[in-house]
Amino acid sequence: MTPPPNEQAPNEPARASTERPADRLRAKLAERGATGLMAHLVAGFPNRAATIDAARAIEAAGADVLELQFPFSDPLADGPVVLQACQDALDAGTDHAAFLGMLEEITRSIRIPTVVMTYANVPFVRGFASFARELAAAGATGLIVPDLPHTEPEFAEFRAALGDAGLSYVPVVAPTSTPKTIAELAEVADTFLYVVVRLGVTGRASTIDDAVRTRLAEISAITPHPLAAGFGIQSGEQVRSLAGHARLAVVGSKIVTTIREHADAPGPAVESLVRSLVGD
């Protein structure tokens, strides 16, 4: 579990030599505050400039974490809005190199941590270790892969690769996850858990009611890691109703829709949306 060699250079300041990407994410989550925002973007949708513009707007508006999706052709857990954005991003030429380029430019220009989300085939085809090293080198702090269950033999290699690259692994907890599974997921997590608050795929609105808050409390009783709650969160009111139950609210489809409506220069619209979501 050694950091990549370039981070071990003897003359680097102490902080740079010991800090791993995941630590930045952990530190961010440890900051006190109300429920913050993890804002989701599909890289390359509708193009590189718009993605970078939106990422800057997301930070300016006060989000805590950026979730950047590496588009995949067959995204099983995504609803129509994100699915179409992924397809458009791929059609616009978002390949591996283009994604890494965007990630690098974004992480250089914003200070909040960036977590990458993609589907298993993308890191699998690249090779787990290379993929993790490339993400870390481009400034990512963690990775979410919804279709690589911790119960499959491939997971061990994948998890080790993230660890070696200093990246956090963010597991997804579903409404169908049993306490036993949640405990297993908490075991392989190292920063936070992504909790899906309702059945189905991304996109459709959810109600944050007592059942959701009870569910989050149950999960918090099993794991000390902070929680991000997502799927169907679209308003600041929903975000605020998670106070005390989730460290982060994840907003995806709503942002993607806003970008589609302001494709030429999404910055201002995304910034005002995210402000309304964060607004306290």
Binding site: L76, A77, D95, S177
Partner: protein, 420 residues
């Protein structure tokens, strides 16, 4: 080295297989795996399935010796296993009924399915109607357009057909859409997957339901005094008819097993669906690990075939494994070779094969002349061609077909005017 296919407890065939579903679906797959474990070998369940097989599906399906074709090609004795004579016109019903019966035992009231050619959709709608289950079928918009008759029949049997416009709007996108829908309705809904692929336990379960084809074949050959076939040929989309006819013979090392993939328009990217004998690469897509048509970044490539049922970028994990170990050979047949094979079998034997199945016929015509009359060459005719009327008529008799369609439209317009 043994070539028998061993599924490990995790549903692996070598490194292929597995269960790569989002966490929300994991319990649903576990539930099916448990039900499958409980009922797969259960005498009552098997008898109920066999009963439907005999009295509803029309099993055993005939094994016909194609003497005219044999004579025409010179060489092997050619036999065709007529799965197209099964109720609904293809092997798909074997699996649809099996899973629908299982779904009932699991207490599910709805089934959903993906369909490409529409054959699996029709089979599912049929099984659902017969067993009193609600049914919803996801179909790529491109396929729905080229398979209008099947779409019509599904709706006729009470199923809802949902057209899928995302992605390439073909079979793989229908699978994605069905899985997505399933994540919202796990409680009352069984996903009745149509081929020997997808997450564990589907590859094993679907193969087991289709293995009846190979079991019957062995008996029927024995009745004709054929101890062992020399070669068995089957078309391969996801691979269910192929593994269904091959499974019984995988342990007979001297029986050559050949899977035939869609050669489409040619070898260019996106022009075919050739995975095993072409550019398939290891991947994890649609919840299983296998060989897929992928670009360098792992994105799934578009495919093409004249037959909607073979137009799919992945292949079932057991076939991928047995292909990789060399137990099963793979070949391909182009669209043109396939259309020629339809005509040949129709004219020589009075049998109209489905376009999918005609791929196997096309390849068999290449193999037969190199064998002798002591060699039995079996072609699994997975389906009959009725459903392909619109495609075949356009391809084989374009002008007359166009005139017919034009006249029909004119007649309907005139009727409407007269009644207005």
């Amino acid at each position: 080295m043994t070539h028998a296919s061993h599924d490990t407890d995790a549903g692996r065939f070598g490194s292929f297989g597995g269960c790569f579903v989002p966490e929300v679906l994991r319990p649903a797959l576990e539930e099916i795996a448990e039900a499958w474990e409980r009922y797969g070998d259960d005498a009552d369940f098997r008898e109920e399935l066999a009963h439907y097989g005999r009295t509803y599906v029309g099993r055993p399906t005939p094994l016909f010796e194609a003497t005219n074709l044999t004579e025409h090609l010179g060489g092997a004795r050619i036999f065709v296993k007529l799965e197209g004579l099964a109720h609904t016109g293809a092997h798909k019903i074997n699996n649809a009924l099996g899973q629908a019966l299982l779904a009932k035992r699991m207490g599910k009231t709805r089934v959903i399915a993906e369909t490409g050619a529409g054959q699996h959709g029709v089979a599912t709608a049929t099984a659902a109607a017969a067993l009193g289950l609600e049914c919803e079928v996801f179909m790529g918009a491109v396929d729905a357009r080229r398979q209008v008759p099947n779409r019509f029949w599904m709706e006729c049997m009470g199923a809802t057909v949902r057209q899928v416009h995302e992605g390439t709007a073909t079979l793989k996108d229908a699978v994605n859409a069905a899985m997505r829908h399933w994540t919202e309705r796990i409680e009352d809904t069984h996903y009745l997957l149509g081929s020997a692929l997808g997450p564990h336990p589907y590859p094993t379960m679907v193969r087991t339901f289709q293995a009846v084809i190979g079991r019957e074949l062995r008996e029927q050959l024995a009745e004709r005094g054929v101890d062992r076939p020399h070669t068995i040929v089957a078309c391969v989309g996801g691979g269910s008819n192929a593994i269904g006819v091959f499974h019984e013979f995988v342990g007979d090392a001297d029986v050559r097993l050949v899977g035939v993939e869609a050669g489409g328009r040619g070898t260019g990217r996106g022009d075919n669906a050739v995975r095993m004998s072409g550019d398939g690469r290891p991947g994890i897509v649609q919840a299983y690990r296998s060989l897929f048509l992928l670009d360098d970044d792992g994105q799934v490539l578009p495919t093409h075939s004249v037959s909607a049922g073979l137009d799919y970028p992945g292949i079932g994990p057991e076939l991928a494994h047995l292909g990789t170990t060399g137990r099963i050979d793979f070949a391909s047949a182009t669209d043109d070779e396939t259309l020629a094979a339809v005509r040949l079998l129709a004219q020589k034997e009075g049998i109209l094969p489905a376009l999918e199945s005609a791929h196997a016929v096309a390849h068999a015509t290449k193999l037969a002349p190199d064998l002798t009359h002591d060699d039995a060459l079996v072609v699994n005719l997975s389906g009959r061609g009725d459903k392909d009327l619109f495609i075949m008529a356009e391809a084989l008799d374009r002008d007359a077909w166009r005139a017919f369609l034009r006249d029909e439209l004119a007649r309907m317009d005139a009727d409407d005017e007269a009644n207005a």
